[in-house]
Amino acid sequence: MIEVDGATVGEVLDAVAAECPALAPILAAGVSVAVDGQVMTGARREPVKPDSEIFIFQKMKGG
């Protein structure tokens, strides 16, 4: 379990990469992020609230 601060998705991802360097290349390769239930990508500027729930996934692909 790690705790990071950030006001946007991008800030949170950067903070996670700084805290866990092993995750940095995986995050850099592209991930999908869910903020409060909405799965999104290319969303580094999306704001997150102090109580937002964030999940990080492998970047999704569809057919």
Binding site: A34, Q38, V39, A43, F55, F57, K61, G62
Partner: protein, 749 residues
């Protein structure tokens, strides 16, 4: 994205079923598909392919091929970029082999000649010296300690120490007290399920025409789901600047995910660069099956606990998927979708991405989801039988709904699974009587859908008609859908809108038509583009009337004063404003670009009745009903077509389709005669029920509908076979020999 002007009812054009704009060209043969492209001085290409599943390439000698009259160029790996890393390196390795052939059909070299016949003859004259190596094609066998190592350095950091190098990625997630959950259960099913690799089976084989000069500038015409992806991949593999290659998509005869990547396009470009002539490459069906991107095969261990009343108490799954000789099997998607339909207090999932000596898998309609659904929905059916529960009531009791924490973490927004289950329960199909050797199956499925990079322009013409320019190739009727959404927003007839698919030189980047995103994302951008154009139309009217633009509203294709205080002016039609636009400020257009993230997932419930012949093991589908949430059906006929198409492909996966490899590691069934897809005479009319639970993330409530439909058929058919034949098959496809073997095993006690 803020959707400040959502509309979910009171539509004039949305929900109607007008003729498709591409229909006439397609039925009269005028539509131009990939193989229809031609150019002056054009050469024809042919590819030399590996006859080995796994072999070191010792030598390639093209002397005899080059000596053949008419041969203009031969390319090998040496003609492509060097120093690539990551996905680009894998892509190049798949497009044309480097040091090793990694599967039967792997491209080794290519020839360009003045005719297709000469090119094929020349390809046979390219002498390749191989050192055959041990191979493995089965996912479970590829993970065994004694399995041959396919690529020693393919695994990433996620793989635990001690695993075979063929395991290239490891995933794990879960929550809750699994042990307590299973202890609480009155019944537990714990079984292993397997699915085989299948192909998308698109009717049109891959085809392209490439022209690339020594100055690094080129053009490419090809059939693809996403030409910006093609541009990026080709330029990376050839060491070109991205903007110097212009890619134009043809009409497309199906893709289903399989045309979101490249196979022959970089080779055609390399041949063109070397020969200084345009080069056309068209795959045969055998090449398509051997060397494009089928789906992964899967082996899955599922454990589910259930109370006597049908409540699911705990679930776990181990998912092993092989995606060919490269990382990228859709294991994560399998895991996310497998248990997504249900609220489960304790769940744990483990996934392995495994490589084997098969072609690099590509996306196939809800990639990964059908396999997981087969395993989980089959296990749930087994529990329903053990506990004597109605399969729809059990699913309603556990169904995911708004606020449910999904098995993969996030809570669901407004979704429509319950509505599809209720509609299936109320459908006459569910109460219809069954005869001897007949059975009924029920299953649910989910796909999360996608937004993606999107750029759209809309221009008003001088006569008040409109043209919409999108970057998502029209595979399933998206031009009609875009025209309907533009017509609705502008308040003009559907026939007054024409939608075109732009080349890569005409718009910003667009992701492919994949992830069920085109109607959602390009549609959203079309509506926003129309709204931008409407703002300009209102400004022109305001200028003409001498009032503020804010005092003008747009209704039924006309600018009108917003009220008595704005002044009394007769409405100005779009045609009247457009006729004067050259002298009132110039062209009127709208443009929108975004990566919209409000795509809502789509759930579906399927019912199937079938009959199994106990003497032959043949299964006949008698009746099939698809119930799925579309959010809002823009063109219902196309939505129904997507539902039906998904069901048909899923039925094929369940009953007949599979990649069959021999002991030598070569594909045994690389033609449609032996790779058996369902045809019209195999099937009844697929009935459809469109459920509409509007997606809050789209101006008109659209959810993608293209992929969910292939997910439930695999388990629905298996569950019906279990009733009809009295045997549970946990390995797809359920071919007549497999069903007969199960019946014989049962009879033998």
């Amino acid at each position: 994205m803020a959707l400040d002007d959502r509309k979910t009812d009171g539509f004039k054009y949305i929900g109607t079923r007008p003729n498709r704009p591409d229909g006439l060209d397609k039925v009269t043969g005028k539509a131009r598909f990939g193989a229809d492209a031609s150019a002056s001085g054009m050469l024809h290409g042919a590819i030399v392919r590996s006859p080995h599943a796994h072999a070191r390439i010792l030598k390639i000698d093209a002397t005899r091929a080059l000596a053949l009259t008419g041969v203009k160029a031969v390319v090998t790996r040496a003609d492509f970029a060097t120093g690539l890393t990551g996905e680009d390196a894998d892509l190049l390795e798949n497009v044309i082999a480097g040091e090793k052939a990694l599967y039967d059909g792997h491209a080794i070299a290519a020839v360009a000649a003045t005719s297709a016949l000469i090119a094929r003859d020349a390809a046979k004259l390219v002498e390749v010296t191989y050192e055959p190596l041990p191979h493995v094609t089965d996912v479970d066998a590829a993970m065994q300690p004694d399995a041959p190592i396919i690529r020693a350095d393919a695994a990433d950091d996620s793989v635990p120490e001690g695993m075979h190098p063929n395991v290239v990625r490891y995933m794990e997630f879960g929550r809750g007290d699994l042990e307590a959950g299973f202890a609480e259960a009155d019944a537990i099913v714990e079984q292993t399920y397997k699915t085989e690799a299948t192909h998308q089976g698109y009717i049109e084989p891959h085809a392209c025409l490439a022209q690339l000069g020594a100055d690094g500038r080129g053009e490419l015409w090809c059939c693809t789901q996403g030409h910006w992806f093609v541009r990026r991949m080709c330029t990376a593999l050839l060491g070109l600047e991205t903007s110097q290659l212009r890619v134009t998509p043809s009409e497309i005869g199906g893709g289903f995910g399989g045309k979101t990547t490249v196979f022959i396009d970089p080779i055609a470009l390399a041949l063109s660069r070397k020969a200084s002539r345009p080069v056309k490459l068209v795959m045969s069906r055998s090449e398509v099956l051997r060397a494009t991107g089928p789906t992964a095969s899967a082996s899955m261990d599922i454990k589910i606990g259930m109370k006597r009343d049908g409540t699911i108490t705990a679930a776990s799954g181990v998912f092993r998927l092989q995606g060919g000789a490269f990382p990228g099997a859709p294991t994560a998607e399998t895991m996310q979708c497998a248990f997504a339909c249900y609220e489960i207090p304790a769940v744990h999932e483990v996934g392995y991405d495994v490589i084997a000596n098969r072609p690099k898998q590509a996306a196939y309609r809800a990639p990964g989801a059908p396999m997981g659904a087969f395993a989980v929905e089959s296990a749930l059916d087994e529990l329903c039988r053990e506990l004597d529960l109605d399969p729809i009531e059990m699913r309603l009791k556990n169904a995911s709904r708004e606020g449910t924490r999904s098995s993969f973490g996030p809570r669901f927004p407004r979704v429509g699974l319950v509505e599809t289950l209720e509609a299936a329960k109320a459908h006459p199909h569910y109460a219809a009587p069954l005869g001897p050797n007949q059975g009924r199956g029920v299953a649910c499925g989910y796909w999360m859908n996608w937004g993606g990079e999107t750029s759209v322009s809309l221009a008003i013409s001088e006569d008040g008609t409109a043209q919409v320019t999108v970057g998502t190739p029209d595979i399933g009727g998206s031009r009609a859908s875009m025209a309907l959404m533009a017509a609705e927003a502008l308040g003009i007839p559907y026939e007054n809108v024409r939608c075109n698919i732009a080349d890569t030189g005409s718009l910003g980047i667009n992701e492919p038509t994949h992830g069920s995103r085109a109607t959602y994302a390009s549609g959203l951008a079309t509506i926003e583009s129309a709204r931008q154009a409407i703002g300009k139309l209102c400004e022109r009217a305001a200028d003409k009337w001498g009032i503020d633009a804010e005092a003008v509203i747009w209704e039924d294709g006309c600018a009108k004063p917003s009220g008595p205080n704005a002044g009394e002016f007769p409405p100005l039609t779009i045609a009247e404003i457009a006729a004067e636009m050259g002298s009132t400020g110039g062209p009127i257009s709208g443009h929108h670009e975004a990566t919209p993230n409000g795509h809502g997932g789509s759930f579906g419930t399927h019912l199937v009745d079938l009959e199994v012949d106990p003497e032959t093991g043949r299964t006949t589908i008698l009746r099939y009903t698809v119930v799925q949430d579309a959010g809002k059906a823009i063109h219902p006929a196309y939505v129904e077509g997507q539902f039906q198409g998904g069901a048909v492909q899923g039925i094929g996966w369940a009953l007949n389709e599979e990649y069959i490899y021999g002991q030598d590691g070569r594909l045994q069934n690389p033609i449609f005669l032996d790779y058996r897809v369902p045809v019209a005479s195999d099937l009844p009319m697929i009935d459809t029920v469109i459920v509409e639970v509007p997606n809050p993330g789209h101006p008109y409530g659209v959810r993608g509908v293209g992929e969910t439909g292939i997910t439930p058929p695999l388990p629905a058919v298996a569950n019906a076979v279990a009733t009809a034949a009295g045997v549970r098959l946990r390995h797809l496809p359920m071919t007549p020999p497999r069903i007969l073997a199960a019946l014989e095993q049962k009879a033998g006690g």
